[in-house]
């Protein structure tokens, strides 16, 4: 996904004089050519994430469309107040593109992880949040985001599904069943499909948790049983689902990265298992919960 971002952003900088890229050293080498060709619109501010967002806000105030990029923990967690004030409160937007989703950086430890980025962005009004599950979904999402001025968070991961879905801004049913709706966000689709093999459930996929497709949710949730599987902090979308189904009796299971600092290294697969997000863990949670 990171390569898809680099290729697409490089093309956008070439083709659209409104686009500007702001970096804080991360991925700077990959944009060296672009920076050489467009030194005024490919800006590396050094290891300065507060300034990266401040600069993005300033660029947007002059009418450009900034893309800011780093690890999620530096881009969002560290610069949260800049995102809140230098973008949102100024009435301008930007495209924030992160790598290092949740525990992608597991071997580097907790300092390089951000399972809470989506929840942090979700505290702010007006943001569209894309969590692609496949590299093939990145280019269309980024290109579409570059064409307007609203705030967009694009969260890239090294975890990927087998197939790219072009039409997954809304809930896209991938498997049909009767007992429950299982919503898989972004790269959780692959483990969810494996976990639900042989179960009588509908599996629906989306790469866009904000705005959440509540209309599709109401249509697909006829059973009243909804399981939500998100690749970031568990519970992040519970308030949206609860509100969308407020007028109906329903049961809601919310799975995601658990609320703890494991103080552990290892692979992303190790972390998925410890958070119950591997196929076996998901299947155990789902079968216990299913009516």
């Amino acid at each position: 996904m990171r390569q898809a971002f680099i290729d697409t952003a490089t093309a956008l900088i070439d083709e659209d004089p409104r686009t500007a890229l702001v970096l804080a050293d991360i991925s700077a080498a990959a944009f060296e050519q672009a920076a050489f060709k467009h030194p005024d619109r490919v800006l590396n501010v050094g290891i300065r994430e507060q300034l990266m967002i401040g600069v993005a806000g300033g660029l947007a105030l002059t009418g450009l469309r900034p893309i800011a990029h780093s690890y999620a923990t530096f881009l969002v967690d560290r610069a949260y107040e800049q995102i809140k004030l230098d973008l949102g409160h100024q009435g301008v937007g930007a495209i924030l593109v992160s790598v290092g989703a949740s525990y992608d950086g597991s071997s580097a430890g907790y300092t390089h992880m951000s399972p809470m980025d989506v929840q942090l962005i979700d505290t702010l009004p007006g943001w569209t949040i894309h969590v692609p599950g496949h590299p093939g979904e990145v280019a269309p999402l980024l290109t579409a985001a570059a064409a307007h001025d609203d705030p967009v968070y694009l969260r890239l991961s090294t975890q990927t599904n087998d197939i790219a879905y072009a039409d997954a801004a809304l809930l896209r049913p991938v498997r049909h069943g009767t007992k429950a709706l299982v919503v898989a966000v972004g790269p959780m689709l692959a483990p969810v499909l494996e976990a639900t093999r042989g179960l009588d459930v509908t599996v629906a996929y989306t790469h866009t948790p904000r705005p959440f497709d509540t209309t599709g949710l109401r249509e697909l949730a006829a059973s009243g049983n909804v399981a939500l599987v998100e690749p970031y902090l568990a519970g992040t979308s519970v308030h949206v689902i609860s509100q969308a189904l407020a007028d109906r009796p329903h049961r809601l299971l919310s799975l995601g990265v658990t609320h703890q600092d494991l103080h552990a290294y290892g692979t992303p697969a190790d972390h998925a298992r410890r958070h119950g997000l591997d196929p076996a863990g998901l299947r155990a949670s789902l079968t216990t919960w299913l009516p």
Binding site: A20, V22, D40, R41, L43, V45, G46, R48, Q50, L51, I53, G54, V55, A56, G57, G58, L59, A60, L61, T62, G63, L64, P66, E81, Q82, L85, D86, H89, Q90, G91
Partner: protein, 225 residues
């Protein structure tokens, strides 16, 4: 019109009949900027080639609102309802509510980063005429975000930026070695002036040179003195 005529406007804002002019540390610098330096026009608020003035130190904006009113950016009636429920004027300015206000500020340490981005955005669009002025306070410099912007603007020679630091010695731990040196060491041109002397402030602002960002440290009375 002189700065003396701004004072009744401040009184309308504060309701305080007997304030000393020194109560408003930014007043004289703001007056010099709007009266002599900034190329801004209330009739052309969206002119892309206007100078940008960013009030980073958003606390205590009475002098700012009063100068904006005096220069025709906002109706004088607005001054009578500071921070009221329906008032566009609050204790920190909101750019979406007040004509001529370039940034919403209040939380310290945001203006210089936004100013650097604004300068870069103008340059990327070939707009080489406008300057970007950012007004900060000496205590505001405690915020580390300023130092990210100071270092980067200096290293890249971003010469369309002028910072103005109002120094009323309100930083809890002071700035041993002086404020100007913090900028100069990063390659800024720096000048320290009497922040109540209009000609000195103007001269300091006009010392900006090609190839480096510029800072004017405007020294005023010590806070609370």
């Amino acid at each position: 019109m002189t700065v003396l005529e701004v004072e009744p406007l401040i009184t309308r804002l504060t309701g305080d009949e007997k304030h000393a002019p020194s109560a408003f540390s930014t007043l004289d610098v703001l007056w010099v900027l709007y009266d002599r330096v900034l190329r801004v026009d209330p009739r052309r608020l969206d002119d892309p080639d206007r100078d940008r003035f960013l009030l980073s130190k958003g606390h205590g904006p009475a002098a700012y609102y009063a100068v904006l009113a005096a220069k025709g950016f906002l109706p004088h009636e607005w001054l009578d309802d500071l921070a009221g429920a329906e008032s566009p004027l609050g204790h920190h300015p909101d750019r979406l509510r007040v004509p001529g206000v370039e940034i919403s500020s209040g939380s310290l340490g945001h203006g210089l980063g936004l100013g650097v981005g604004t300068a870069l955005g103008l340059r990327a669009q070939g707009r080489l005429e406008p300057r970007v002025y950012v007004l900060l306070g000496d205590a505001e410099l405690d915020e580390g975000s300023n130092h990210e912007a100071i270092a980067y603007a200096g290293a890249t020679g971003l010469d369309s930026v002028t910072a103005v630091v109002i120094d009323n010695r309100s930083a809890s731990h002071g700035w041993p070695g002086g404020i100007a040196s913090r900028f100069a060491v990063h390659g800024w041109t720096a000048v320290t002036v009497d922040g109540r002397d209009h000609d000195a402030v103007e001269a300091g602002l006009r010392q900006a040179a090609e190839g480096a960002p510029h800072v004017v440290v405007a020294v005023v009375e010590t806070k609370g003195s």
